[in-house]
Amino acid sequence: MEDDAPVIYGLEFQARALTAQTAETDAIRFLVGTQSLKFDNQIHIIDFDDENNIINKNVLLHQAGEIWHIGASPADKAVLTTCYNKTSDSRLVSCAAVWRMPSDWETGSHESPDDSAHNPQTLELLCRLDDSAHGNAACVLWEPMGDGKRVISLADNNALLWDLQESSTQATVSSTATLEGKGQLKFTAGKWSPHHNCSQLATANDTAIRGWDLRTMSQIYCIENAHGQLVRDLDFNPNRQYYLASCGDDCKVKFWDVRNVQEPIKTLEEHSHWVWSVRYNHSHDQLVLTASSDSRLILSNMVSISSEPFGHLVDDEELSEGEDNHQEDNKEPLKDSVVSTYEEHEDSVYAAEWSSADPWLFASLSYDGRLVINRVPRALKYRILL
């Protein structure tokens, strides 16, 4: 069974920001934000045609500055947030804003695909999530599975919970949490937990991971020295409410049960440099994607700590007769293992995302602007499904 070859798309600029269009569940669509200090930055809307293995791109201008983080609204396909740097008076400021894509971006690009590079449409600014008192924004998090009305922005040592009103054109800070401590503390990453009625947030600063209760904006747990060095990214297991994955500069990926923060339940040490991103598959939480500055992307199969540790339980009758082979394969349970290492990138890979439409498809973005779309190997896919 041949796996499809990866599809590669090259951006003109260097890029770090990647997200799936969360609200889109039919088309496979990713958003990429570029980083350029000299030119107008862009948001590339990458559509992937699964049947024909073709990529369609659309470009929207993001003139405010270079994009460090991008987030798509879970409710409205057209709405997204970015964190960007802008220079003013030879000073660098990190800002965050909510944007709306122009309604006709899709049609426009189809009519004249050649023009899009030269005459791209511009994003419509809905509102700024600016509060200069709270420092530079590191990332903006949408409420998972919410109605697109609440976002959290992490700025320096503050976590700000915003309420978006009037079709997201107005944003007000509803509550804040501040990380106190000696030295200059700074949030590096965060994740809004989809569990517990979306009332929890996990943040990373330096080597620690902290959990917050959004109702009281107070800390609920803290994993000190979660990693030997800086924690780069976090992700919640979509199916197991207490399970959390983290990655960092010690080249490790760790899996935590936040009820016991003393020891990770599992540690992966497959990368040979810092791990910048860790992502659980939205449907099959044994599949974990990690991106690293060793230019590699690794797909791991963490069966033992997934929500289906014994594989998919299927009655024999449900299996069709033509698939006896797979049935036999199923007999031996899958073990925790690296499924595949993807080496299509030449530069550090800073972001990797699963598609929101196809659970077997994911995109990764390296600094040199190369976006690679890959699929879970079919053999594994069928083993998980059958």
Binding site: G10, E12, F13, Q14, S36, L37, K38, F39, N85, T87, S90, R91, L92, T207, N225, H227, G228, Q229, D250, C251, S272, H273, W274, S293, D294, S295, E343, E346, D347, S348, Y367, D368, G369
Partner: protein, 835 residues
């Protein structure tokens, strides 16, 4: 005619003729019948002149027919001659025979006279004999009556004496009782018992018997009392008493119990004495007491522990007697009295009973069973005491004492084994020895492990103190690199010295432990020839659970340094990691096989069960060494990385001033790298590096200020071709190999240094990419990178690696620059030279 017949025989020999003459005479007298038979076949011939069937007529005719006249004449003269000689012979013979006959007749006549005289004498004798017989018959007839009377009288006499004995018996027994001559009383009674029993139907005898019984009962009671009350009397007295009781038909079972319970009380007092020794004495008076007792008890043992009084007070503070003394006491008091009890018991109840009537009642079996139970019970208590005492023996200082004690313990139990062939006691004793030995091996393992940890702590301290001097030396060596290693070696305790002293002390410790353990298998130790000590102890005990376990522990603890220290990297000094890595590597290459060979040789290990092969241990050691070295690289890389990261993150690169100097941090990086290089060089070989040109720094210098680099900056200026930058860098990357940053390193200096520098520069790159630079920010990075290039290339295996990474750093910072105006190469050079 006769003459003619004789003449026919040719006489040639005298002797032949004479014989024939004798033969013929014999024939004549009819003496020799057998002599005839051989001549018979010849004699059939009628012409044979000597044959019986001789026919003169035929012979004459034959002669006349056959012979001439002359011959006949000759024949005739010859025959006449023969006839004449035959005649004279016959005359002689007749004369001789006549003479003999006359002398025989004389003799017979003389004999006739003699016999006549003798006949007279014989007649006289027979007459006398008849007279004597007559007399004798008369005498015996008269004495008959008196003889029967005398016999009867003597019978009566003996009976009366016996009766007297019987009548006197009660009084005699009483007297014996008074005098406490129990033995005599019992033997007296025994003699009378059967008789009394037989005649008990007679009232008088009955009375005596009753009296005797009463007395004997009293006697038995008294003996019983003696037995029971007996506190101080010796075992010999006791066994005498019991023997008497046995003879008195006391029930054997009860006696067994009594005997044993008595013996038990004495043995238990021994055991209590032993137990008291185990309990620590709080007061000094007890100490004195013990030492006094010791001095008195040591003499009969032959004082084999000359130095032990000293060690006893030092080695085991919990109890005031050392183990040997304790075991000695146990052997001398408990085991020997136990043996005594067993012997006397067997003498009394088993051997004795086997011959007597008791055998029929299964007494020996019963007694034997009781004895076994008794011995097992007491031995179990003794063993538990001994085990408790052995467990107190924690100090591993002097093993010989323990071994000697165990040997003595084991040896003395052999006596029990000989006395009681079926007993489990000796086996249990052996098991105790085995347990003690394995326990000892465990303790040695613990001691080795703690020794190892202690020596690591020492090394740690040693590393902490001279660290300054090493660093100082390397700082000085930073300028003149060649001098670096030499000055590093001048440090008071350098790494190689520490390594060699550490490994030597560990090896010594192992050797001394092996020597101590070896005592268990010494030839003069009784238990050393048990199969356990020959096989399993050597292979499983010493080799596996001592030596192999220690090596495994060494590897494991080394690996733990990598894991526990993994997080912040600060807890273990990097130099220790390096040192341990080298230690493990040395173990892999030689030490492990040396130690194992040593063990195998010393203990003549015969591997019955599978043992850990040398190769797997070596693999483990190598793995540990690799892990430690990797960790060392990681830790050192991190230290430098942290410096670089801080320096990049904390600076405002947009609003920085024009670079005038290399930043201090870069100098620090080079200094640290140099000192690491020195440090690694002390323990690891140089390793191979790719050949580089004679003037590497210059060449690389030109590389990254080359036209290509300029083209990259230029490309980013022109808005028309934004793709070119990526294209160029991608093409560049296509042709360079992918670099694994945190990868395994080889066991040489160059590889280690390459690893550290890779980690540091990659960090630098990633940090730069997260920042935004102003014009001068970029220029500062250029200067810094050039400076690094000038110094770092010489440490790595492939200088292109450094070039590539630094190139990336400058390229990335150019990308992240708001106003990318690179500095002139010559200016950079000047700045760096000045620095």
């Amino acid at each position: 005619m006769d003459g003619e017949a004789d003449g026919s025989v040719t006489v040639s020999e005298d002797s032949g003729r004479r014989r024939r003459v004798h033969g013929m005479l014999k024939l004549y007298y009819g003496l020799n019948e057998e002599g005839k038979t051989p001549e018979q076949p010849e004699s059939l011939d009628p012409c044979d002149i000597n044959g019986p069937h001789f026919d003169p007529e035929l012979y004459l005719n034959k002669l006349r027919r056959e012979c001439s006249l002359a011959e006949l004449m000759d024949q005739e003269t010859c025959m006449v001659k023969q006839i004449r000689s035959l005649d004279s012979d016959m005359q002689t013979l007749v004369y001789e025979n006549y003479n003999k006959f006359i002398s025989a007749t004389d003799t017979i006549r003389k004999m006739k006279n003699d016999f006549k005289k003798m006949e007279d004498e014989m007649d006289c004798l027979s007459a006398n004999m008849a007279a004597i017989t007559d007399f004798s018959a008369r005498i015996s007839g008269t004495l008959q009556d008196q003889h029967t009377q005398i016999t009867k009288l003597s019978g009566v006499h003996t009976l009366l004496r016996k009766l007297q004995f019987l009548f006197e018996l009660p009084a005699r027994l009483n007297k014996c009782l008074e005098l406490q001559a129990y033995a005599q009383a019992v033997s007296s009674h025994r003699r009378a018992r059967c008789v009394l029993q037989q005649y008990s139907h007679l009232p008088s005898f009955k009375g005596i018997q009753d009296d005797c019984h009463a007395i004997m009962d009293k006697l038995a009671q008294e003996i019983n009392v003696v037995v029971r009350m007996d506190g101080g009397s010796s075992a010999k007295d006791l066994s005498e008493c019991v023997e008497l009781l046995l003879q008195l038909d006391e029930p054997a079972e009860e006696l067994c119990d009594k005997f044993l319970s008595h013996a038990r009380s004495r043995l238990e007092s021994d055991l209590q004495g032993l137990e008291a020794e185990i309990r620590p004495y709080p007061s000094t008076s007890a100490l004195k007491d013990a030492s006094a007792r010791r001095s008195s008890s040591a003499a009969p043992v032959g004082s084999p522990t000359d130095g032990s009084p000293k060690t006893s007070s030092l080695s085991s503070p919990s109890s005031n007697t050392d183990i040997l003394e304790f075991i000695d006491r146990g052997c001398n008091e408990f085991v020997s009295s136990l043996c005594l009890v067993i012997t006397s018991y067997q003498e009394l109840f088993i051997n004795h009973a086997q011959t007597g009537e008791l055998a029929s009642k299964n007494i020996p079996q019963m007694a034997n069973g009781k004895l076994h139970a008794f011995v097992d019970d007491l031995a179990a208590r003794y063993f538990s005491l001994v085990e408790r005492r052995i467990q107190e023996e924690k100090g591993v200082g002097d093993n010989s004492l323990l071994v000697r004690a165990l040997d003595r313990f084991h040896r003395r139990l052999q006596a029990v084994a000989k006395l009681l062939p079926g007993s489990a006691v000796p086996n249990q004793g052996t098991e105790i020895v085995i347990r003690a030995a394995t326990e000892r091996v465990k303790q040695y393992l613990c001691a080795l492990q703690s020794f190892y940890m202690d020596s690591l702590t020492d090394v740690r301290q040693a590393l902490a103190t001279p660290r300054l001097s090493v660093a100082g030396a390397s700082v000085a060596g930073g300028g003149a690199l060649l001098g670096g290693p030499a000055s590093g070696r001048d440090a008071p305790t350098s790494l190689p010295e520490l390594l060699s002293s550490l490994s030597a002390s560990i090896l010594n410790q192992i050797k001394s432990v092996l020597a101590s353990v070896h005592l268990f298998t010494a030839k003069d130790i009784t238990f050393s020839n048990k199969p356990y000590f020959k096989g399993e102890f050597c292979s499983q005990g010493v080799r596996e659970s001592l030596v192999v376990s220690f090596i495994k522990f060494l590897c494991q603890s080394s690996r733990q340094f990598c894991e526990s220290a993994g997080d912040k990297g600060g807890s273990t000094p990097p130099a220790l990691l390096l040192l341990l890595s080298r230690l493990c590597l040395d173990y892999e290459t030689s030490t492990i096989s040396y130690i194992l060979t040593l063990t195998d040789e010393q203990f003549l290990v015969q591997h019955h069960s599978p043992v850990t092969p040398v190769t797997s241990l070596c693999a483990e050691a190598r793995e540990a060494a690799q892990k430690l070295l990797n960790h060392y690289v990681k830790v050192q890389g991190l230290i430098i990385s942290q410096m670089l990261r801080k320096s990049v993150e904390t600076r405002d690169w947009v609003n920085t001033i024009e670079p005038r100097n290399v930043r201090a941090v870069m100098k620090r990086v080079v200094e640290d790298t140099t000192s690491i290089d020195v440090q690694v060089g002390l323990l690891y070989e140089e390793g191979v590096r790719k050949a580089h040109s004679s003037d590497s720094s210059k060449r690389t210098f030109s590389v990254y200020s080359s036209s290509r680099q300029q083209a990259r900056y230029a490309a980013s200026y022109t808005p028309s071709a934004p793709m070119d930058t990526n294209l160029l860098s991608n093409i560049h990357k296509l042709f360079s190999e992918r670099i694994d940053i945190f990868s395994s390193v080889e066991f040489n200096k160059v590889s280690v240094m390459t690893g550290i520098i890779k980690i540091s520069l990659k960090t630098f790159l990633e940090c730069v990419r997260l920042r935004t630079f102003g014009r001068y920010g970029l220029q500062q990075i250029q200067v810094d990178c050039h400076y690094l290039q000038m110094y770092l290339w010489r440490f790595v295996s492939d200088e292109n690696l450094v070039h590539f990474l630094l190139d990336e750093i400058v390229g990335s910072s150019a990308h992240r620059c708001l106003d990318p105006a690179p500095m002139e190469q010559s200016v950079i050079e000047v700045i760096c030279e000045r620095g």
